[in-house]
Amino acid sequence: MSPEDWLALRTTLTLAGVTTVLLFVAGLPLAWWLARSRSAGAVLVDALVALPLVLPPTVLGFYLLLALGPAGGIGQALQQLGLPALAFSFPGLVIASMLYSLPFMVQPLRDAFAAVPAGLLEAAATLRASPWDRFASVVLPCTRRGVISALTLTFAHTIGEFGVVLMVGGNIPGATRVLSIAIYDHVEALDYAAAHRLAGGLLLASLAMLLPIYALNRRRGLAGGAA
């Protein structure tokens, strides 16, 4: 692999990591609220959260480009603050990824949270567990499968991001040139050998990463269904 490809790998992993962590922090309370709330507003939020799923990445990319670019609202605001523009920058990519992967974090968490029997939380409350404690000691362990799903889906989906990056990230080495774009580039340059190295390597690395996750998940997870 060329130094450029290593750089793309680093950019990709950093982007996926940062996106996953930020979305997890933001997604936990949002998912919990969505799982428990019965308000009408929750329906709207549900639909808004799902929007990035339904929209092609190019729609998202287009509007992000307009918003983040020098003519867009966010772009101009940043410019007036003397900050660099977000389009074609790593921070811009993080924002795009967070929007793009939002449902992948929130939906599995919400569904898992909604399936936790209220009776268990009541039992925990009578055993002195505060709401936070209940969340950490009952909800999260009981929904481990959902949490792992949400984290891997988000991480993976960010790694697999292509359309949005193509539109708002460009292809700037070291900043926005992620693996998916690098492979695309190699293919277009007809450099199949490099494409094979990158794509094949990614394929094997992914499988090697997924196998232990699922082995672990499976070993400790299935008992839940038997209860």
Partner: protein, 353 residues
């Protein structure tokens, strides 16, 4: 030392409206038909249900007063639910330890080992809770609640899935818990024998309303209380062990009205006991019976007669104590029973516990 609980709550087809003044220690039995609101009252006290209006004060602490509502996890209760509600992701030991770990070490009055021991969970400790029998689950739920060293126990039919032998082990433990830690225990049960054995105070709920709420002795002694409307009604008499006959394993208990021979007690002389004498275990005679295996024959005066379907419940004054006898209408006639009539009450020693 008292509990004052006043709640109003409306559900589709059910309204709870109770105002309870309960003692702040001892076992408080709660009975009543299915759907009467027993579980709902426990849930309100635990803070798991929101009353429309309510006031709750437990031994001096206000848990609920107008808008001020102590959240469930801040109430020092130990609760056993009608369904076990064990944590499926934790082992038996971890389930028992869950609440125990969450209280201040200085507040712990039982060790984890004691809680596990009390319900004989040692061999099951590392077991996955999905792999327990029904009775085993219930014991884990009990141990888990005891382990938080609560200041108020809320038990919702905790022994329903247990066999008689286990019950006989656990009931005295719960009574001891209430006594040793001066703890109020709210005990919902459908089993009259459990209540008679344990309860110091009784509440009868029906259709969301309190039909009776008084000291257990008083309700057991009242021929009109809801607890005495069924076949298995019994009198409960406080007494003191006077002497112990080792050979026959009999004890003599004296009470405010005479003495009774009891078997199966291991209490030392001088100990206070509660005698439970079922109405069906008492027979009446006009003359002094002789040559009978009935050890206890007490002179008594009929104070009330209540027809109970095919039976007649006869309330008797024996000194200051009240006894019941359930006799047939024919006996009433043949013995010419009536208020004020003097009779001999024959009580089988075997009928006390």
């Amino acid at each position: 030392m008292s509990i004052a609980a006043c709640f109003r709550l409306a559900r589709a087809g059910f309204t709870l409206d109770v105002d309870l003044a309960l003692p702040g220690r001892g076992v408080i039995g709660i009975a009543g038909p299915s759907g009467a609101g027993k579980s709902t009252v426990l849930r309100l006290i635990a803070g798991l249900e929101q009353a429309e209006a309510g006031r709750l004060q437990v031994n001096g602490s206000r848990w609920h007063d107008g808008a001020t509502v102590l959240p469930a996890h801040a109430r020092p209760v130990g609760m056993v639910f009608q369904d076990a509600r064990l944590f499926p992701h934790l082992s038996v030991r971890q389930n028992v330890a869950y609440g125990w770990q969450r209280i201040h070490p200085a507040a712990r009055r039982v060790t984890l080992a004691q809680a596990i021991e009390a319900f004989d969970l040692g061999p099951l400790c590392e077991r996955d809770v999905a792999r327990l029998s029904g009775g085993e689950r219930q014991r884990v739920a009990l141990a888990r609640a005891v382990a938080v060293s609560p200041q108020l126990m809320l038990l919702d039919e905790p022994l329903a899935a247990l066999d008689a032998t286990r019950k006989d082990e656990i009931l005295p433990y719960l009574a001891r818990l209430a006594r040793d830690f001066a703890l109020p225990v709210l005990y919902v049960s459908h089993a009259p024998d459990e209540l008679a054995q344990l309860a110091d105070h009784l509440v009868w709920l029906q259709d969301g309303r309190v039909r009776a709420c008084a000291p257990a002795m008083q309700l057991f002694a009242d021929p009109d209380s809801p607890f005495n409307q069924r076949e298995d009604c019994a009198a409960v008499i406080p007494a003191r062990i006077a002497l112990h006959d080792g050979r026959d394993q009999l004890s003599q208990a004296v009470f405010d009205g005479g003495a009774l021979w009891l078997a199966g007690l291991r209490h030392p002389p001088g100990a206070a006991v509660r005698l439970r004498i079922a109405a069906r275990d008492v027979s009446l005679a006009r003359g002094t019976p002789t040559h009978s295996s009935i050890l206890n024959i007490l002179p008594a005066t009929v104070t009330a007669l209540r027809p109970h379907g095919p039976w007649c419940l006869v309330a008797l004054a024996v000194g200051a104590a009240t006894l019941f006898a359930r006799v047939s209408h024919r006996s009433v006639r043949e013995l010419a029973l009536g208020e004020g009539v003097s009779v001999y009450a024959q009580v089988k020693a075997a009928a006390m516990s």
